[in-house]
């Protein structure tokens, strides 16, 4: 992002954050759902799209963030509960990343699948922290002593966190570490040849991504006011991977578009099916559309919605290639 773009993004986000107070409760709910999902998707895109480490444990990491932040928040740690969620998830993410020192690609993906299963089991059984299957009830977030109760306030907080995440990540990818991520993604051998410490680079990707995912998890916990094992099962990991694939691997704006798509699509289908009074069928339709869309996207636009949008914009704004050549 150039300076001007950064300013535009900051401005738009601030306007959205301020404007979200004027929204209805339902609209505010949609806004924070999309914004929180986008934060998680940005973090996952850093790991998969930019560093090439396929992870199926996103859902469980969100859970770690939610449980940690929920417990800290209930204990009265104020805003630090959110940071605590981030730190806990970063630590667990680093632990999950340890096998990545030895494993690569597919084998590592299967290891993260195992991590997801083990964490789900722990959510159900470590009752002192997680309250088992019934779930942990979380009291509302307090911000420097002020209790945040309204959905509109959560919407604007989520937008601001999303903005900070975006700015941080797009700065990060321009640093030496960010460039190292890209080289590791392309080829670990080349990275080694260039003197990049591959293990350490991957570890940074896990820690940074984990921290952001934890914060997203904390926000999920505080907005839904309940953390139960079923909410953080494997299907959540799959949803997030779908977001970054539908949006575009290795594209920040793509993560945002993908998150909006995956969160709003089920809502839209549920709205359409509301008159039918057949909950199971509507749910089935929703899942069917979701599965089908993933497949169709992968076949016809593997670079995602972001790339599709870009090529459309180019088609309409630059009618001739001659003009483009003259301009440069």
């Amino acid at each position: 992002m150039r300076g001007r773009d950064v300013l535009i993004v900051i401005l738009v986000a601030l306007i959205c954050a301020a404007g979200s107070f004027a929204l209805s409760r339902f609209m505010a709910f949609l806004v924070y759902s999309v914004a929180i999902a986008a934060i998680g998707a940005l973090a996952l895109n850093l790991l998969i799209g930019y560093c090439g480490q396929i992870s199926f444990s996103q859902g469980a990491l969100l859970g770690v963030g939610a449980y940690a932040a929920g417990n800290l928040g209930n204990a009265g740690f104020d805003i630090f509960a959110v940071l605590g969620g981030g730190i806990a998830a970063a630590a667990i993410s680093a632990l999950i990343g340890l096998p990545a020192m030895r494993l690569r690609g597919l084998y590592f993906a299967i290891a993260t699948l195992a991590a997801q299963a083990i964490l789900e089991y722990l959510f159900k059984t470590v009752e002192p922290i997680t309250k088992g299957i019934s779930g942990l009830t979380i009291s509302p977030l307090t911000l420097f002593g002020v209790r945040i109760g309204s959905d509109q306030a959560y919407a604007s907080i989520a937008i601001i966190v999303l903005l900070l995440t975006w700015l941080f990540l797009s700065w990060l990818i321009r640093t030496n570490l960010g460039r190292a991520f890209l080289v590791v993604r392309e080829s670990e051998l080349v990275a080694k040849g260039m003197g990049i410490n591959v293990g350490r680079t991957k570890m940074w990707a896990f820690v940074i991504s984990g921290f952001i995912v934890g914060i997203a998890g904390a926000l999920i916990g505080f907005t839904s006011r309940l953390a139960n094992p079923e909410a953080f099962a494997l299907h959540l990991s799959i949803d997030y991977i779908a977001m970054i694939i539908v949006g575009g691997l290795g594209s920040w704006i793509g993560s945002l578009i993908g998150a909006a798509f995956v969160v709003l699509l089920p809502e839209a289908i549920e709205r359409l099916g509301e008159g039918l009074h057949m909950a199971d069928l509507v749910f089935a339709m929703r899942e069917m559309a979701f599965g089908l869309l993933i497949i169709v996207f992968l076949i016809f636009e593997p670079r995602g919605l972001a790339a599709l949008g870009r090529s459309l914009v180019q088609r309409f704004t630059r009618p001739s290639k001659v003009g483009e050549k003259l301009a440069t």
């Binding site: 195992a114 799959i238 199971d280 497949i295």
Partner: protein, 304 residues
């Protein structure tokens, strides 16, 4: 005696795991794709068998028709979903198979609903007693049948000319093309066979545990199996399947009660939940750290 009982139950479920895992390994060897949709074929196969036998077809015919349908679906998946994605990155292909899984599950939900269904009796009811061990016919038949099928498939892969072509295509696709093997047809055949195996495995599993949408998780349970056996070894998948089945039975029957008793005596923890569901994954992580290529897999070499 209790131990032998557990062992035989473990071997029975383990050989069904093996049946499903062999399909995943077959596809991976042939096309380098990890198929998460294997559970979908298992679930769908079981539902189709149920629907056909409800129409009045005899059980054997229903199973056969369902297996053939699954094979056709497998070939169709390869042709319409996987073939257009030849150059796509690994994560995209994995995700496409996950998309198939989600889609298939949604279709089963739309047609048959979310509730557990009593599966039609394929094997006669009752149980047999061998040396003080009681086993229902279901378990015996499902275990023996899937073990025989696994062995038969391994034999087919090793000794017939189609098996030889399969191995050629999997081993070196360029060389296979050079000697006149139609590699993409072989890949289609591999998908068909593996979907058929999965459909059969799903049907057998449904005779043991009843029919529900939860059947698709078998596709995920198969992953510890194939990693343990080595992603590239069919025989390894067979042995690892039985090993994990036994391990699960032992965890459920011996380790969990013992651990819970210990914990109740010394702490205030009452239950440790379904430990048998995570033991395979713990073993998987351990295996990946110690010997990533599995017990029987080959260590891959990489061209620079």
């Amino acid at each position: 005696m209790y131990l032998v009982q557990l062992l035989s139950a473990g071997i029975a479920t383990g050989s069904i795991y093996a049946l499903i895992a062999i399909g995943i390994v077959l596809i991976y060897k042939c096309s380098g794709v990890v198929n998460f949709a294997q559970g979908a074929y298992a679930m769908f196969g079981a539902y189709v068998t149920y629907a056909l036998s409800k129409l009045g077809l005899p059980a054997v015919v229903a199973v056969l028709v369902s297996v053939v349908t699954m094979a056709a679906l497998g070939v169709a998946t390869e042709k319409f979903v996987l073939r257009p994605m030849l150059r796509a990155p690994v994560v995209a292909v994995m995700m496409a198979t996950l998309g198939i899984l989600i889609f298939a599950k949604a279709i089963c939900l739309a047609i048959w609903g979310p509730d557990q269904i009593a599966f039609p009796k394929i094997f006669p009811e009752g149980s047999i007693e061998v040396g003080g061990i009681f086993m229902t016919y279901n378990y015996v038949a499902a275990g023996i049948l899937s073990a025989i099928l696994c062995a038969a498939f391994l034999g087919f892969y090793q000794f017939t000319s189609l098996g030889l072509m399969q191995r050629c295509a999997a081993n070196n696709s360029k060389a296979a093309l050079a000697i006149g093997i139609h590699v993409s047809n072989q890949i289609s055949i591999a998908w068909g066979m593996s979907a058929a195996l999965a459909g059969l495995g799903g049907t057998l599993l449904a005779t043991l545990n009843g029919l529900s949408l939860g059947l698709e998780t078998i596709g995920l349970v198969a992953f510890p199996v194939i990693v343990l056996g080595g992603l590239t070894s069919l025989g390894g998948a067979f042995i690892a399947g039985i090993l994990l089945g036994v391990l699960e039975a032992l965890t459920d029957g011996l380790l969990t009660p013992a651990l819970e008793e210990f914990l109740r005596a010394y702490t205030n923890i009452y239950s440790i939940g379904a430990l048998q569901q995570v033991v395979p994954y713990a073993l998987l992580v351990l295996m990946l750290l110690v010997r990533p290529q599995g017990i029987f897999g080959q260590r891959g070499t990489e061209r620079i």
